[in-house]
Amino acid sequence: MVKESKKKIYRTENKFDTYMTKDAFCSFISDELISKDGLKENYKFQNFKVFFGLFMIANVIYSHYHFIPYPQDYYILIACIIFYYISTYIYQWFEKVKEGDIFILYDDKKANKTFGFGASQELYQRFVVLRIYNMPNKALLVERKIDSADYLDVKGYIVQPKMRSLINELLQEANKK
């Protein structure tokens, strides 16, 4: 007896919720990219965020559990707080500037390059802007503005064939440059 794997659903429950819509698109695009031959997900950004985040958490835990009673630990607290604010600034800079709208990094083995696929959507707007960047310098290769309503059916499910052909089109355009 063959066990059928449960098909993943790409759907926005509320077409007017920009976060849900964008999340559905990003989820579908990520899964499509990973399933293609020659493309592999690159975890560089995620790894940095996890390790840097753990570093920040370790600092916060140390500031609380260093077993030196207050007020003898006053200067240790000041050092921990300064480090916390600086590391938060770096983390925010990484998320907002370095990562920006990129939701997946992928390696193209044939071209031997790393690309970033980004998506942005204005709040309460139907249009989603899809971008492909050449990493690591984040040079914009392709930009396409789409109407999310064109790629969603009446019940909010992503029209997969149409979305798939759009992704292929964008990838071909990016590979030409």
Binding site: C26, V50, P71, T88
Partner: protein, 184 residues
């Protein structure tokens, strides 16, 4: 209930790496709250810069549920100051007014203090440990500098009903872990 089950189901189907990222994000948020507490400790020079009034002994000045902001500067206390002190071997801080001060030595900070709640009939000697008639500086957590009325009632509710605390933390964690970050 369906909404909560939906969030639980979504969490169960998340990729492992994304779960780790979301947990780290949640921990950073919790760490931010702790860092703000530590910043307040540094700025106020007090080990506990924020306390909640738990009883009505200081009415009408402060009511149960009021949040009080403390500082513990290198200045002597004066009669009439409202201070927060903690008795040895007891966790609960007490917010009362300074009734009398005696100078222990030439050092202006070396004071012996007697306190009383505005709404109490007698001074606090009955609350102090046996054989202790006065408070010393080491017993004191700080002096009241500001008040935020009623906001602390949430803390009182969470302490009186611990299950509420776990439900609130559990729900908040679930929502944060499954939050659809616009950047992701």
């Amino acid at each position: 209930m369906d909404v909560i089950l939906g969030y639980v189901d979504e969490f169960r189907h998340m990729k492992f790496r994304k779960i780790i990222l979301q947990i780290v994000s949640l921990a950073i948020v919790v760490g931010s709250a702790l860092s703000i507490w530590k910043s307040l400790q540094v700025v106020s020079f007090s080990e506990s810069p924020v306390v909640v009034v738990l009883s009505g002994s200081m009415e009408p000045a402060y009511y149960r549920g009021d949040i009080l902001f403390l500082t513990f500067l290198n200045k002597p206390f004066e009669v009439g100051d409202v201070i927060v002190y903690k008795i040895k071997d007891q966790d609960i801080p007490i917010v009362h007014r300074v009734l009398q001060i005696q100078q222990k030595s030439d050092d202006p900070l070396d004071q012996l203090i007697l306190t009383k709640g505005d709404n109490n009939q007698v001074d606090d000697r009955a609350l102090y440990p046996r054989k202790q008639m006065w408070l010393e500086r080491s017993d004191i957590m700080g002096k009241i500098e500001g008040v935020l009325p009623y906001v602390g009632y949430i803390t009182i509710l969470l302490n009186d009903y611990p299950s509420l605390k776990f439900i609130m933390i559990g729900l908040m964690s679930l929502f944060v872990l499954t939050a659809k970050d616009p950047q992701s």
